[in-house]
């Protein structure tokens, strides 16, 4: 029995550490700034990190295959700019959303195919993707375009009340991430696609020799990443009710950091999406603490997240070494 517990702790060590750190950080915030103890502040995390959560989920799969996707923030910007432009021209909002998601998927498929078939490093391909997407966004519009579409406004402003918490609410777009999370958990654990992702991350050659569909899975992973980025872009443009090529600067790095803090290893094959949720929440909590403080520069978020990411990579290696023995 104790043996089992030991195994459980070692196998789930990084995840448990992430959850513990989240709780610690959150309670520390609550002690420093009693206003943070209100339930709404917790739910604000979901409002503020709606887009980040979505891209981080996509990023988790990419990193699990030992890849990386630097294009996500560019895709968010492009989606926001493109949807704003289309909406201004009176295109039906549902059609806009479908078009955006298709664009994300095609974009991801293209990057995935280049990475797999032409054997170019994911780092390079997706960095080009980032430049391309941001560039396209600025070609569409050089300044911020406001969205006045009623459907978008409705989605942006409708509060969803949280059961059991009086007066606590989130907005409709904040629900997309958590729902996607459930889908992602299912994909990762109960489908051949998901398990193949893990196998590829451990050893692509082996996965290929096991007769697993390596090419297809890798390309789908990037397509899913592109889909998530476009989805995040839609959520982003709904919450800001505007589109602009400069939106979400550096969010790809926040996403990577959240995934790593969530216990997924950059070396591939190890990690899970639940961890990513907590990685994102930690990121959001640090931001709110700084907001409550009000005097510190927002760059402290980056410093905090950076430090945590480093600590995490250290913790992971420790667990990894333990596991090897």
């Amino acid at each position: 029995m104790t043996q089992r517990i030991k195994f459980f702790l070692i196998n789930n060590g990084p995840l448990l550490t992430t959850i513990t750190i989240f709780i610690l950080v959150y309670f520390a915030g609550g002690r420093l700034y009693p206003a943070m103890q209100k339930p709404q502040v917790f739910f604000n995390l979901f409002i503020n990190t709606a887009a980040l959560l979505i891209v981080s989920i996509g990023m988790t799969f990419v990193i699990l295959t030992k890849g990386i996707d630097l294009s996500v923030a560019g895709m968010i910007a492009l989606t926001s700019a493109a949807s704003a432009a289309l909406l201004v021209n009176g295109v039906n909002p549902i059609v806009v959303m479908i078009l955006m998601l298709l664009m994300g998927i095609v974009f991801g498929l293209a990057m995935g195919s280049i990475i797999h078939y032409l054997k170019v490093e994911p780092f390079i391909v997706t960095l080009m993707g980032l430049f391309f997407a941001r560039g396209m966004a600025f070609i569409i519009t050089l300044s911020s375009l406001t969205i006045k579409d009623p459907v978008y406004r409705y989605l942006a402003l409708t509060k969803v009340h949280i059961p059991f918490f009086e007066k606590a609410y989130v907005y409709i777009p904040s629900l997309v991430g958590p729902i996607l999370l459930l889908v992602a958990i299912y994909l990762a654990n109960f489908t051949r696609f998901g398990r193949t992702v893990y196998a590829i991350g451990n050893n692509e050659q082996s996965a290929m020799l096991m007769g697993l569909p390596v090419a297809r899975t890798k390309i789908i992973v990037y397509a899913f990443g592109g889909f998530c980025s476009a989805l995040a872009g839609i959520v982003f443009s709904i919450s800001l009710l505007s589109g602009y090529g400069g939106y979400a600067p550096g969010m790809e790095l926040d996403a990577i950091a959240s995934v790593v803090i969530g216990g997924t290893m950059l070396t591939g094959g190890v990690g899970n999406v639940i961890g990513t949720l907590f990685g994102v929440l930690i990121n959001g909590t640090i931001v709110s603490i700084l907001q409550f403080n009000g005097t510190l520069s927002s760059w402290w978020t980056r410093i905090g997240v950076g430090a945590l990411t480093l600590i995490f990579i250290g913790i992971q290696s420790l667990f990894y070494m333990k596991k090897k023995n």
Binding site: N189, A199, N203, M208, L209, M210, V270
Partner: protein, 504 residues
Amino acid sequence: MTDSQNILSMNRIKKSFPGVAALENVDFSLRKGEVHALIGENGAGKSTLIKVLTGVEHPDSGSIELDGKPVQVRSPQHSQELGISTVYQEINLCTNISVAENIMMGFEPHNFFGIDWKKMNALASEAMKRLDVDIDVTQSLGNFSVAIQQMVAIVRSLEVASPKILILDEPTSSLDVNETAHLFGVIRKLKSEGIGIIFITHFLDQVYEITDRITVLRNGKLVGTYNTTSLPRIELIGKMLGRSLTELDEVSKAKQKNEQKKDTESLVEAKGLGLTGSIEAIDFELHVGEVVGLAGLLGSGRTEIANLIFGIDTPDKGSLKIKGKKINHFSPLESLENGIALCPEDRKAEGIVGDLTIRENIILALQARYGWFKFIATQKQYEIAENYIKLLGIATPSADQLVKNLSGGNQQKVILARWLATDPQVFILDEPTRGIDVGAKAEIQKLVLQLAQEGKSIIFISSELEEVLRTSHRIVVLRDRKKAAEYSGDVDDHTIIQTMAGIL
């Protein structure tokens, strides 16, 4: 031979890599219900032929027919769909996912919700038990030994679809007698069900025990296909090597000459050395110029002793003296400084760097020993590398070949060369001849005795008893992670087998 019997025929297969003609117009056929051995020296092209058949490599020319119909195998996945199931030479599974997944992935059971984990685990566990391996299949594969991983690979090949052709590329290289016997039981059963089996091995005993026909390759060329019963062993070796093998006799003679050197200074002295959960307290001594063999079944604790002495593991009882100096801090680096080297069992995980060249791989340990700032002149590096390539007969176009492009056996030789190059005083060889052909094996055994003659001491670990007997001055037999007995080198193999099995 009527062609209608053939479930597979490969005709005039040609495959070249830069600088190497791996296969030159090789013909191969497989009948229903036969076990067909594929034999040849390291680098002869056996694995390449298999890779062509399973779609990992695509032939430059030649054709493949399955059940009389021409096919083009596109990928490993495609070959599985065609009913070809393969255990590759290097274990090709994923260590991060569970044993059950490694066995079932691609054929995993589903229920309305998705993957049916419960059923998958049950099926996998059952399949492992059929080979008499009782383990927790929900643990990740990486938690298990090479031997278990090998068994998992075999079980996977048996479970996937229902194969018409089963390919086993050196499946027994890390298995012990019992496990091999189990595997052979399964092979016989499959054979009676009409499945054709291609079996690659360097163990000639196994060839004669289980196969019906033998195809011999040499330097990428077909030497011929023979009925096993009509090809005497000595002729088989001749066909493989293209010369006859007299070196084995020389090995035994060299050992005789060595015998007197026993009572010299002791280099390694372990008293009650042990580690809970790994190996029980053991006394062990190694003298100058001595070869001590460690015999025992898999999991009997051979590798564990090596790991303790080399400082990979830290013992929790007993003491260890190296050259009379007590060791307090256990670490491989310290051991290297004390003149001990270990050639590890699991070459893929612990040794070989596939993306470096042969020369770089061989120099690695030596450079570490010199310190990273004392650069070894390139000229000198080539000299060392080329020396070992010749000495061990590494089949390669040049010292600049990437190691991952070498055949399995030749990679093993590179690792061995790496540690030989450091010129240690005590040499721990853990399964140094695994996957190495008979000719090179004899070469390595000779080398071991020659080193002993020069005053080096060697701990020689091998599953092949014959080899231990041929080289060792003293033999320590392990059983159930304990020292069971110690014999002098002239003990007969019967006594050792009985000790290993626990009868004596």
